[in-house]
């Protein structure tokens, strides 16, 4: 008699997700799926709205990464106003946006590492979930917890200084930005009180990396072997091969590092990427057309970016990148837990970039906006904290949106998350007769390495109790567990 185990929804993951694991009569894994069960049709909602509203309007999608949506929408509208495709902005416009973006990356990655990953690493996957949180980190590693909180706060301060406000920021506008950085804001972010100091942030970023590397040295099995599977990797990349989180061309490599998408212009992403709809999930499954639906899926996010990039253009992060690459034998890492490592390298890179930009006089003076000939179609792409984020709009003569397509980072990672669940489920659940906390959390840990934002992907508000259900082959419920 076969069994079906349901994990619903996934805790500490935004939105509403459900994991089902089907066992055969012998207790072997037959099939695993990550289901996304809520959808609100944002693309349809924006049709008929004027394009210039998009950078603010898209922030309704999600309160978790509004800056990424703000910037991706702004880049798409840059094209519509004839300001080019990321390279036509004024120095002030581009640099202010970059500062905003690095602030977002810094705070989002810090949240993920300190609040999510560090409890798992410090206390172990099998430990009591109620005790596996940042408060327990604070009790046992107070310095680490303080750093996590203050790094989050610093990133938020950067966002506020560039976007204008925390909610529905207005900083990025079609063709540029609407403000300079003031001397007061610059000084505060460079040498502010109460830890708001960029050198402190760089130093703490290095400390976090050292913490991770020390943990890795002692726990290679968890970091290197957990849920490993071969995957392709896709991201934006600067034209010279450098890691670039804000702008570039699209590159994908296969699991051995061979280029499978050759630095193409993202304005034509739809020539190379398609999305498959599957009946059991509201979240689509993107894939590279040339390779096809079955094998064309790819991973996005920090680990994918480490795998596509040839170098990093800030010295401290470059040193860490070289060590990362050396550790992986110069090949792409296909180890999901290496995402934590990659994320920490990006935290350091973002902090270094923030410092570079704060010292750049272009942020405090210069033209804010540029315009050209109106266009009727535009694509904006950024590397959001969770991966590549696409915004694609078409407009009518009257400036109203006639078509919108968004491929959010979590959607790009749909198939890899499903693969990761399958890997873990096969390892920890095969032949088990009862659902344990450790088993449930192992599945969640695998999903969490992708830092998914199902709120973005499905546009749900999302509350997160967790439910586990075990069914027999007749679909009769034989066990149910809750947590969260």
């Amino acid at each position: 008699m076969g069994q079906k185990i349901t994990i619903e929804p996934v805790t500490r993951v935004e939105g509403h997700g459900k994991v089902t694991i089907h066992l055969d009569n012998e207790g072997n894994i037959e099939q695993t799926r990550l289901h996304i069960v809520e959808f609100r049709g944002f693309e349809r909602f924006v049709q008929g709205r004027p394009y210039w509203e998009m950078p603010v309007l898209v922030q309704r999608l999600c309160g978790i990464c509004p800056v990424s949506h703000h910037l991706a929408a702004a880049k798409a509208t840059d094209v519509l106003v004839g300001a080019g495709t990321g390279e036509g902005l004024t120095p002030t416009g581009e640099k202010m946006r970059r500062l905003m973006h690095y602030g977002q990356m810094f705070q989002s990655h810090s949240l993920h590492f300190f609040h999510l990953a560090s409890p798992d690493l410090l206390f172990g996957i099998e430990s009591d979930p109620l005790k596996r949180n940042v408060v327990q980190v604070a009790l046992q590693h107070r310095d680490l917890a303080v750093q996590g909180v203050m790094m989050r706060k610093y990133g938020q301060e950067v966002i506020q200084a560039t976007a204008g406000k925390k909610i529905h920021g207005t900083g990025a506008v079609p063709g540029g930005i609407n403000k300079h950085l003031t001397e007061e804001e610059r000084e505060y972010l460079l040498h502010g009180d109460d830890y708001m100091d960029i050198d402190k942030m760089i130093s703490w970023s290095q400390d976090a990396l050292e913490f991770f590397k020390a943990y890795h040295k002692k726990n290679k099995a968890i970091i290197d072997d957990f849920a490993e599977f071969p995957s392709s990797h896709l991201s934006l990349i600067r034209k010279d091969g450098a890691l670039d989180l804000y702008h570039g061309v699209l590159r994908a490599v296969d699991h051995e590092g061979k280029k499978i998408l050759h630095d193409v212009d993202y304005q034509e992403y739809f020539k190379y990427i398609d999305e498959e709809v599957r009946s059991w999930s509201y979240m689509k499954f993107p894939y590279l057309k040339e390779i096809g639906k079955n094998n064309g899926w790819y991973t996005v996010g920090p680990l994918a970016r480490m795998n596509t990039a040839e170098f990093i253009d800030t010295p401290l992060a470059q040193k860490e990148f070289e060590f990362f690459k050396q550790y992986n034998g110069g090949k792409p890492s296909n180890k999901p837990m290496h995402s934590h490592w990659a994320r920490l390298i990006e935290i350091l890179h973002s902090a270094e970039k923030i410092k570079q930009l704060l010292l750049d006089p272009d942020l405090m003076e210069g033209e804010l906006v540029t315009r050209g000939n109106k266009q009727f179609e535009g694509v904006g792409v950024v590397e959001a904290p969770r991966g590549t984020l696409f915004h694609h709009y078409k407009i009518e003569e009257n400036d109203m949106i006639s078509m919108a397509n968004l491929i959010v980072s979590t959607t790009n990672n749909n198939q890899p998350m499903n693969e990761a669940v399958r890997q873990v489920a096969t390892r920890v659940m095969t032949g088990r007769k009862e659902i344990t906390e450790g088993m449930m959390n192992a599945v969640e840990v695998a999903i969490r390495t992708y830092d998914p934002c199902l709120s973005c992907a499905t546009h749900a508000l999302g509350q997160m109790p967790i439910e586990f259900e075990l069914y027999n082959s007749d679909n009769k419920l034989i066990e149910r567990k809750y947590k969260g």
């Binding site: 500490r12 909602f45 938020q156 925390k166 529905h168 997160m464």
Partner: protein
């Protein structure tokens, strides 16, 4: 010896682009205006889409914190609850509860302000700006409630 003034924070959270979900944020905005009109320099306001770790640092310097949030619970209009610190993660890694923030503040910054959460009943949560009329009425009641609460708190502070 001169008694110091209390420090009070009203913190609204929610997404104003999601209809009634913005009730907490709007309450904070109106409280800012009220505090200005009343010349209550002790009363500060803040708002965000949701609460997160850094808010533990934000509330660490206050004596009284009132969080304001839209609510889907089956309450009539609004409700003011005393917050008990809790390390239970009720939502997700991306957003945490005010009780969790209070707990984190105590553990990381060795301070726990007196804290309350005012729930404002909401009804609609779609991709639209502006609240429903019913939530607007609930907000008016909630505003009056916490304004009276703060004035009483200030009186008690003076007497203590």
């Amino acid at each position: 010896m001169t008694q110091r003034e209390p420090r009070i924070l009203v913190y609204g959270y929610g997404n104003p682009g999601r209809q009634d979900d913005g009730a907490g944020v709007l309450l904070a905005e109106r409280m800012e205006q009220w505090a200005c009109d009343m010349q209550l320099d002790q009363v500060h306001t803040d708002s965000n889409y949701q609460l997160n770790l850094e808010d533990a640092a934000g509330i660490a310097n206050y004596d009284l914190v009132i969080f304001a949030d839209a609510s889907r619970e089956d309450i009539e209009d609004y409700r003011l609850d005393l917050l008990i610190a809790s390390e239970r993660i009720e939502f997700t890694m991306h957003a945490v509860s005010p009780a969790f923030i209070l707990h984190l503040c105590r553990e990381v910054f060795n301070h726990q302000p007196e804290a309350y959460l005012i729930h404002i009943r909401g009804y609609e949560w779609e991709f639209m700006g502006g609240m429903t009329e019913r939530t607007g009425k609930n907000l008016t009641g909630a505003l009056q409630c916490i304004q009276e609460f703060i004035l009483q708190y200030l009186n008690n502070w003076k007497r203590s």
